[in-house]
Chain length 307, copies 2
């Protein structure tokens, strides 16, 4: 198997593109796909400082690696969710990478700040761990980026993540999410701009990039996510991708094209206006934001806590 | 496990409805779902004669059984595709059922009419067997129904078929198919009305109905369909259904509701006008219909044959 660019020995085959690459040419392909995403979706200007949400997994560390190679000024943000050895290990990989690459990282421990990790928080409310985790991360990502003066927050979501999410939104016809699902969400009313520069690259490709660039990362999936619907959507799409390589790519990228051409088609009929949380001042669509509802745990019963 | 209706011993569990039924109550449930589909979608009036496309499999024979139990005047139409023992066996099951139930069946043999079966036909053109089969069946179903004076043609497509087809259409964003995918297609310009009364019932449920009513049917899948994309879509949806019972139901039935409320959302942007085939006079969107293109095999190269 030879690299189709330089005829050197190929180390990876990308079925959807019917392409084979050596390590150097694969890296070039990977970086060009990230650059294309950044430019096509106008994710960041050269002078924008980018805060990268890093979990310690392959996607977010590969993203941080590429963006700093591309010359962006970056820092990492890691939320330690307090899920036993998994979180401890994730944090170590983030700190190891930051030290090795001489990059700044903000570490934020839920247990230190709130005296409880995500499991205890979920246990004290009527939320699943994944749901509570989503609320906490969305909130803290935005808050830290705002507070530290980063105009752009980047996450490591890849093509598999986005295609699985799109599938879930379509299976349940979640119009409000279909409108919002995008590799770039512009800043508005207290929200910083959010971007997903890996949206054109598959999970297999980000894993290969991390491996070929010697980036150590936490390999285990979060122990809480074993039964997460997203994992089942990914498995289902992988079944189809295996028989028809390129399906995920076509599914997600054509959705983005269609929505650009026909935005009305994906507009929810009952859109809520943006407001400011009465407790913390962060943006929300109701009186109290999801994070404060979650944190007001003793009184949280689905109704906003008394203020 | 007890039947939730009569407390007799239950024989089937329907996860999506969290329901358990004995044989008699399951039959009542099944028939009520067919009746609801017929009424809600205005599929046929009591006086309409219904031609049922019967392959010899569980779905089409279960459909024929229910519709004749519901008092509709029906006849079967079987196309013998000439696929070796599979087709011979399918035909025997259809004729056995018709004889036992004292119902009329029209059998149509491709080999007798055209001196070749679907495999030879596909081999002599550049079409896959499944694609040629689809063209031949669509054409002959409509032609026989028209010629014999049936205002309605019914097929045995079930919820799994329709959900898998919807998934395939969404994965490739096939707008023209999204508009047309419906449990009822009204008659227009040479096309008889086409209905799918089993669209609310899963494959598991039609198999149970056939079993519980002692309907013998051909169990093997068509040997040509082993690699068909539809089977992979079904597998993928079954993975998701297993974890979240009810997903297929919600996915397909909500799609139908959405399209009723927002028809513009699913209208293709480049709709073709209906015409009449210059060779056979049947309806088509181009000069020569797909069936005649296929049958003009020696000259068929993707262009219409010279007329």
């Amino acid at each position: 198997m030879k690299c189709q660019k330089c005829r050197d020995k190929a180390v990876i085959k990308i079925a959807r593109a019917n392409a084979k690459y050596c390590a150097a040419c694969f890296n070039a392909f990977f970086v060009s796909q990230v650059r294309r995403g950044l430019e096509r979706e106008k994710m960041a200007s050269r002078s924008d400082k980018i805060l990268i949400a890093v979990s310690g997994g392959k996607d977010s560390l590969a993203l941080w690696h590429v963006l700093s190679r591309l010359g962006y000024e970056t820092a990492g943000l890691h939320i330690d969710l307090g899920i036993g050895e998994y979180s401890a290990s994730s944090r170590r990989y983030v700190e190891l990478f930051a030290e090795r690459e001489n990059l700044e990282v903000y570490s934020y421990s839920l247990k230190e700040a709130y005296k409880m990790g995500i499991l205890e928080l979920a246990g004290e409310t009527d939320r699943s761990a994944c749901s509570a985790c989503g609320t906490v991360k969305r909130y803290l990502f935005n808050k830290v980026a705002s507070d530290k003066g980063f105009p752009v927050l980047a996450t490591g979501h890849n093509l598999d993540d986005e295609a699985a999410r799109l599938l879930g939104n379509l299976l349940r016809w979640q119009d409000a999410y279909l409108e919002k699902q995008s590799p770039v969400l512009e800043s508005e009313e207290g929200f910083v701009k959010k971007v997903k520069p890996l949206y054109r690259l598959s999970e297999q490709e980000t894993a290969a990039y991390a491996f070929l660039n010697g980036i150590p990362y936490v390999i285990e999936e979060c122990p809480m996510s074993v039964d997460a619907p997203m994992l089942v959507y990914k498995k289902a799409l992988n079944l189809i991708e295996h028989q028809s390589p390129g399906t995920k790519h076509q599914f997600y990228l054509e959705f983005l094209e269609k929505r650009k051409k026909e935005p009305d088609r994906f507009l929810p009929k009952d859109k809520k206006d943006g407001r400011v949380c009465q407790e913390c001042g962060q943006p929300t669509t109701s009186q109290i934001c999801g994070f404060c509802k979650l944190m007001n745990k003793p009184s949280f019963t689905g109704r906003p806590a008394a203020s």
